[in-house]
């Protein structure tokens, strides 16, 4: 039987991969996809918790509905910004932007 821990570990691994992708990808779309992975791992957590902790009220699932809505809004806005940068300045890779400047 898969238990809560299994789901949590899976989501943690996905979250790790997302964080790593965020730091290692160079184009903004790739980074955005990594962020989607992070959101998804949170979703797995919510659903798993709602199943294993309080299965009769399902708040966890409701939260993940909101998370998906937020992810949609963020993706829309983020991609609009990417389009903007590309149209005006032909930039998609973030290392063209100096991220670590102090």
């Amino acid at each position: 039987m898969a238990t809560l821990e299994h789901y949590l570990i899976l989501s943690a691994i996905l979250f790790c991969i997302g964080v790593f992708g965020l730091l290692s990808r160079r184009n903004a779309v790739g980074i955005l996809m990594s962020i989607e992975l992070m959101f998804n791992s949170a979703n797995i957590n919510f659903v798993a918790f709602s199943k294993f902790i309080n299965p009769d009220i399902l708040t966890g699932q409701i939260f993940s509905v909101f998370v998906i809505a937020i992810a949609a809004a963020e993706a829309a806005v983020g991609l609009a910004i990417v389009v903007l940068l590309y149209r005006n300045f032909d930039i998609v890779n973030i290392d063209k932007i100096n991220f670590m400047k102090w």
Partner: protein, 483 residues
């Protein structure tokens, strides 16, 4: 038949007012022909005014509603008033600037207003998911505001940077919320408080992880060191009035939710995380102040100074007492006034295309533009915390709160930081008053709206500095019912 919940719309009257204004702005912008800037800014102003009036009339009402997801206690209301003030001041800063840079669009007001809706929700959220949604409603317009100047590379980059950092922070935050939910089975602050009784943070690894991630998430949004790397570039790239807004309102909102989260929901855990907050506060102050010294660009300097000021407020957060919360609110009020003023002068002295932002360019300003120089000097004094200005009063109460709560070292480090900050704030004044005039074809006009903003800011700075009593009463009332 499902039972219909008790809603109590009164909790969100200010939000409704602001949101209605934003929708009207949107529709007027869409369907009105010809010159509409005046109309739009009037509507925006009315929206803020209406929200502020509603909020002030709810003082001591302690409304709750929407299944306890929202609460409109004085603490929330004072922040709502602060957002309205920040919004109005930003509006005054913007009108002239938008014309000068030729980037006026109706969406600007819409974004400011909808961002304010998010902040208000954040201030009165009593539940993690509502807070998260409020945070998103606040942040998404801010990303867009950062990229508002579409033709400018810096602005575009700022938007991307802000967005990526913000989305990353949201990801971390929601992951943390998931763990808190998983451990406690609830996200309501009151229920969290109840569920936490008899638990220790270090005995609950999931909770520790969740709270840690939530703190990291909010640290990104409020730009605590080491989660601040986005701040300088975003602040520089964003149109200046929006930068002023960024440095005040979202920060205040972030602190509002942090206070509610740490002082109310996670109050039983507060002793366990004081150490972390202590370190964050010290790092934030030192990094902000030390790096600010090296800056040559006034916007960049103000960006780092805003990080440092967040550090001072973190001291108040670390104390975990009512005095700390009061001092933080007072400081935020003072910071609103003086920072808007400083940015107002920056806009006043700037020229089309965001030129003339180097600090060295202000040399000899006192001779040609004595009023602007004097106002700038006032705001710099206040930011440095020199009496009798608002900044001094704010810092004084923060440090006093820290000392009385037993955080003597923290207070000392705070004072040390104030002294460091004096150096770079005073440098601006020295350059303005002592240095010979630079070769400059700078022509300054004094647009009415901008002057109103600066005068209001100066009034606030002086008022809080010299007559702090009424303000102290305000902040005392604002935490009543909170502790």
């Amino acid at each position: 038949m499902i039972e219909i919940p008790f809603i109590n719309l009164a909790v969100i009257y200010p939000e409704i007012a602001i949101f209605t204004a934003s929708v009207i702005v949107l529709l007027v912008d869409l369907f009105m022909k010809g010159e509409k800037q005046g109309t739009l800014s009037t509507i925006t102003m009315l929206g803020f005014a209406a929200a502020a009036i509603i909020a002030s009339r709810q003082w001591f009402h302690f409304e709750t509603g929407f299944s306890d997801a929202l609460i409109a206690d004085n603490f929330a209301l004072v922040f709502k008033l602060l957002f309205c003030a920040a919004g109005v001041l930003t509006l005054f800063l913007s009108v002239h600037y938008l014309n000068r840079e030729k980037i006026f669009r109706g969406e600007y007001f819409f974004l400011i207003l909808s961002s304010t809706v998010g902040m208000m929700i954040l201030a009165s959220a009593n539940e993690l998911i509502t807070a998260f949604l409020g945070l998103e409603v606040m942040s998404v317009p801010l990303y867009l505001l950062a990229g508002y100047d579409k033709k400018k590379l810096l602005s575009n980059e700022a938007a991307l940077k802000y967005f990526l950092m913000g989305a990353f922070a949201s990801g971390i935050l929601i992951y943390g919320i998931a763990f808190v939910y998983g451990n406690l089975g609830t996200t309501n602050f009151d229920e969290i408080y109840r569920a936490l009784q008899g638990k220790t943070l270090y005995g609950e690894p999931l909770l520790l992880l969740g709270l840690g991630l939530i703190l990291i998430g909010f640290s990104f949004k409020t730009a605590f060191v080491p989660f601040h790397s986005w701040v300088p570039d975003v602040y520089v790239g964003t149109p200046t009035p929006a930068t002023a807004f960024f440095s005040i309102a979202p920060k205040a909102a972030g602190f509002a939710i942090l206070f509610r989260l740490l002082f109310k929901a996670f109050a039983p855990m507060m002793p366990d995380i004081t150490g972390i907050l202590w370190v964050l506060a010290v790092l934030t102050m030192f990094a902000g102040n030390l790096i600010a010294i090296a800056q040559r660009n006034i916007k960049r300097m103000l960006a780092y100074s805003s990080i440092a000021h967040a550090g001072y407020i973190l001291i108040a957060l670390t104390t975990g007492t009512a005095d700390g919360a009061k001092a933080a609110i007072l400081y935020l009020l003072a910071y609103t006034a003086m920072n808007v003023g400083a940015f107002g002068i920056v806009i006043l002295l700037g020229r089309e295309g965001e030129k003339d932002l180097s600090i060295a360019g202000y040399s000899g300003l006192s001779r040609r533009h004595p009023i602007a120089a004097a106002a700038m000097a006032l705001f710099m004094f206040s930011l440095a915390g020199i009496p009798p200005t608002a900044g001094f009063i704010g810092k004084f109460y923060i440090f006093r709160g820290a000392v009385s709560a037993g955080f003597i070292w923290l207070a000392i480090l705070g004072v040390v930081n104030s002294l460091i900050s004096v150096y770079y704030y005073l440098r601006v004044i020295v350059i303005m008053y002592m240095k010979p005039e630079a070769e400059s074809d700078r022509v300054i006009t004094y647009p009415l709206s901008l002057m109103v903003a600066i005068i209001l800011a100066a009034w606030g700075t002086v008022q809080i500095g010299i007559f702090p009593n009424s303000w102290l009463n305000l902040v005392r009332d604002s935490v009543s019912g909170f502790f």
